[in-house]
């Protein structure tokens, strides 16, 4: 540790090189941080207490195949189930489907139980009652309201493309949820009214609230067993797994993220190995002087490795700061997938990235540092030329 001032002095000696290396590492670490945050939010992130209790039941064959509505009453009696609502993806066209700007999720649900199942969604009580009481009413997320400049009482038309129905809706409420604020919810009954009788009593999916998180693992197989021999078999999974299946739909995202992570890690290795090999080569005579002064091999090894670790640490810190900025920007942007709305750089992820950076910084300098520490005094000083 008493070599720390020397290490710091060395780090800033060739200022241009240090700045370039640190910038290069910062960019890599920024990328690693964002990808890591994405990975965490998709595969590791701790879900909100209410989300951990929610499950989704859909048709086993595919989400495009509906389930009979009477399944709702059967599922309600499965032990551990507290509440259930129909959750019907409406699709549809708002104004003009060619612009992605006009796209947002529209679901038909049962307003009576909706806020029981989604307790983290908040809405003024009068707006909630207004929605429940009027069949044509709908509620929208607060971010959607900002996007379209809507007001309470505004009318909007959704042209059906999955269903042969056009919905004429009135905005009666604006909800606020911790993560996702860009959906529209309407009375499923209103959709049924406009449908031909043969397609009326069906549901695309059911959202279920378990009484306790511990009940969740038993509920899923219990529901699927219930309909094992029925014409329409079900598939029940946690809300999180259900949302993930959409992400996997885009492609093998998990593999993609891991490939990026390893490519970036490898880049960090290359950059810091290169820097250290250049700076050690330039300073070989200095190593000779240090040795003459009585510095041991180990001390020289430590000084060089320390310098590399120090540079990696600074680059890493700047990069992670940038990464959390990028995460913030992504959070503010349009929700391409719902999960990006919760994209934050968790301390654990950041710590892991930083540790990785310092570790790689140290390891990459090892070959140069080792060679330098093994050079004999005579050889090192010979280079003076």
């Amino acid at each position: 540790m008493r070599y720390l001032p020397l290490i710091l002095k060395n780090s800033v000696r060739n200022r241009r090189r240090s700045v370039l290396t640190i910038t290069s590492l910062a960019v890599s670490l920024c990328l690693l941080g964002v990808v890591g945050a994405l990975y965490t939010v998709l595969y590791i992130h701790d879900v909100a207490p209410a989300q951990a209790r929610r499950l989704v039941t859909r048709n086993r064959v595919s989400l495009t195949q509906p389930l009979p509505l009477f399944y709702r009453d059967k599922i309600r009696h499965v032990p551990g189930v507290q509440a259930i609502t129909v959750s019907q993806w409406f699709g549809g066209i708002y104004k003009d489907s060619r612009h992605f700007h006009n796209f947002f999720a529209r679901f038909g649900v049962e307003p009576g139980v909706f806020f029981t199942i989604y307790p983290e969604y908040t809405i003024p009580e009068d707006q909630k009652q207004a929605w429940i009481q009027e069949r044509r009413a709908c509620i929208v997320g607060k971010d959607l309201v900002t996007r379209f400049g809507w007001h309470l009482g505004d009318h909007l038309t959704l042209q059906g493309n999955i269903f042969p129905v056009d919905l004429e809706l009135v905005i009666r409420g604006i909800y606020d949820a911790p993560e996702e604020n860009e959906s529209l919810f309407f009375h499923i009954e209103y959709l049924y009214e406009g449908m031909p009788v043969s397609r009326r009593d069906t549901a695309g999916a059911f959202t279920i609230l378990a009484a306790a998180p511990e009940a969740v693992p038993q509920i899923a197989p219990a529901i699927d067993d219930l309909f094992r021999n029925a014409t329409a078999q079900t598939r029940t999974e946690t809300e999180r797994a259900f949302a993930l299946s959409y992400v996997n739909f885009i492609g093998n995202v998990k593999r993609f993220l891991l490939v990026i992570c390893s490519a970036v890690t490898f880049t960090i290795l290359l950059v810091s190995a290169n820097t250290m090999s250049m700076s050690v080569r330039e300073r070989i005579k200095e190593v000779g002087v240090l040795k003459t002064l009585g510095f041991t091999r180990e001390a020289i090894l430590g000084i060089i490795l320390g310098e590399s670790a120090c540079i990696a640490l600074i680059g890493g810190l700047i990069g992670l700061l940038l990464a959390s900025g990028v995460c913030y920007m992504i959070r503010q942007g349009p929700a391409f997938i719902q999960q990006t709305k919760a994209l934050t750089l968790q301390p654990g992820t950041a710590g892991a990235c930083l540790l990785l950076a310092v570790l790689i910084g140290t390891v990459s300098a090892f070959v140069s540092a080792w060679q330098a520490s093994r050079t004999t005094i005579v050889e090192a000083l010979k280079d003076l030329g």
Binding site: R16, R17, L20, T21, T23, S24, L25, V27, S28, C30, L31, V35, R60, V61, S62, L63, T64, Q65, G91, I93, S97, Q159, G160, N161, I162, P164, T231, R235, A241, S245, N248, F249, I250, G251, N252, R255, F256, I260, A263, V264, F266, T267, L270, V271, A273, N274, T275, S277, M278, E282, F336
Partner: protein, 388 residues
């Protein structure tokens, strides 16, 4: 007189560790760029091979996807006898009534299940898609629960191999044949008898679409106009080419993510290259002075160092291309939100893509090399000689 290029090559070889480390740093973003481009090109090739300008796809008015569409047999009869439709071998008009459904099956990439398109059609539908050949097994028998699958499906879905059985609708279906659809998106579909599938899904009179083969592309446009303006039919129509074109958006999320990553990594690599070149300049200060004394101009020095940086980048670009080459013709799948199912296609590493990758590497090399080269050129002779 310019400095010979062999001078730069010798220099790069002399510092081989640094050269290789920097080149690999450039190779990685180039490789990522190439993977993304190969994916997009492959997907586009699949869609281009699928659509024929002579084919017209008829859907319910207002929808742009077969999955949301509904066409009755009566409407089909109304379309069948429009003018301008090419005849089939047996003299009937080339119009194929089809039903499209989606099933969720476990694939190699997604053991939890991925959506796959099932298409019910009749012999007419196969005759119209003449580029589709049976590559193994036999065709399904009408009236039986039998299916034939596209070759990409047979490869990617363990349950869809020849002789395999899958469960959907009201029973088990046997895979009796494998189809080779060339490059087209039909490789990603499962085919069965129209009437059997329609009956199983309880949609005997609510089918999905009608595919028509017009006499020529001009007649196709006339047919589209004819069908969309027929109030009694209440259907919409577009060419098959246009239908597949709108699906190329499927690669957009991967493309965006890939480009972002590639740009960030490229910035990092450009800085690393700059670092290397600065070191090269610093190390060769005396050499630069000597060259100036010998009569080489500042411009010569600038050009020489820039050239060295470009060479270094080119080496990196080449390495990047080599890394990506094994990916050529590898089959992968991507989900399309239009069909709500997976499209299988192969990565295509074409010469254009490789050229784009090398150009990208050169840009990185130029960005990293220009400042150090300027620095080298600006050095005063005496200072340079003294520094070394």
């Amino acid at each position: 007189m310019a400095l010979p290029i062999s001078y730069n090559i010798r220099n790069l070889i002399e510092r081989k560790t640094t050269t290789l480390l920097t080149a690999f740093g450039i190779a990685l973003p180039v490789a990522i760029l190439l993977v993304v481009l190969a994916l997009v090109t492959g997907l586009q090739a699949a869609f281009q091979a699928s659509g024929s300008p002579q084919h017209v796809l008829v859907l319910r008015k207002g929808t742009t996807a077969e999955l949301n569409s509904s066409v009755s047999r009566q409407q089909y009869q109304g379309i069948k006898f429009k003018r301008g439709i090419a005849p089939l071998k047996n003299g009937e008009p080339a119009a194929s009534l089809e039903l499209v459904q989606v099933v969720n099956l476990p694939s190699v990439d997604a053991p939890d299940g991925m959506n796959v398109t099932i298409r019910g059609l009749t012999a007419a539908g196969f005759e119209m898609r003449h580029h589709v050949q049976l590559s193994a097994g036999r065709m399904f028998t009408p009236g039986q629960r039998e299916v034939v699958v596209g070759k990409a499906m047979a490869k990617r879905y363990p349950g869809l191999q020849l002789g395999g059985r899958i469960t959907f609708a009201r029973g088990e279906w046997e895979v009796v044949g494998v189809l080779d659809g060339g490059q087209s998106a039909l490789n990603s579909e499962i085919f069965g008898d129209l009437h059997q599938i329609a009956g199983d899904y309880n949609r005997p009179d609510a089918l999905s679409s009608v595919l028509i083969r017009a006499e020529n592309p001009m007649a196709a446009q006339a047919l589209i106009h004819d069908i969309t303006s027929d109030v009694k039919l209440n259907l919409g129509a577009m060419t098959e080419v246009a239908y597949y074109e709108q699906q190329t958006t499927a690669s957009r999320p991967i493309k965006m993510l890939g480009m972002l990553v590639c740009t960030l990594m490229a910035v990092g690599s450009a800085f690393a290259a700059m670092n290397t070149m600065y070191a090269a300049v610093a190390r060769r200060a005396r050499e630069i002075g000597t060259l100036r004394v010998l009569g080489f101009s500042r411009g010569n020095i600038l050009l020489s160092f820039l050239l060295e940086s470009l060479l270094l980048a080119l080496l990196g670009g080449g390495l990047g291309c080599l890394l990506v080459l094994p990916l050529h013709n590898v089959t992968t799948g991507i989900g399309s939100f239009v069909t709500f199912s997976e499209i299988a296609f192969t990565y295509r590493v074409t010469p254009q893509i490789i050229l784009a990758g090398l150009l990208f590497a050169l840009v990185l090399g130029a960005l990293g090399g220009i400042l150090p080269a300027c620095g080298a050129a600006r050095k005063a002779i005496l200072v340079a000689l003294w520094e070394g």
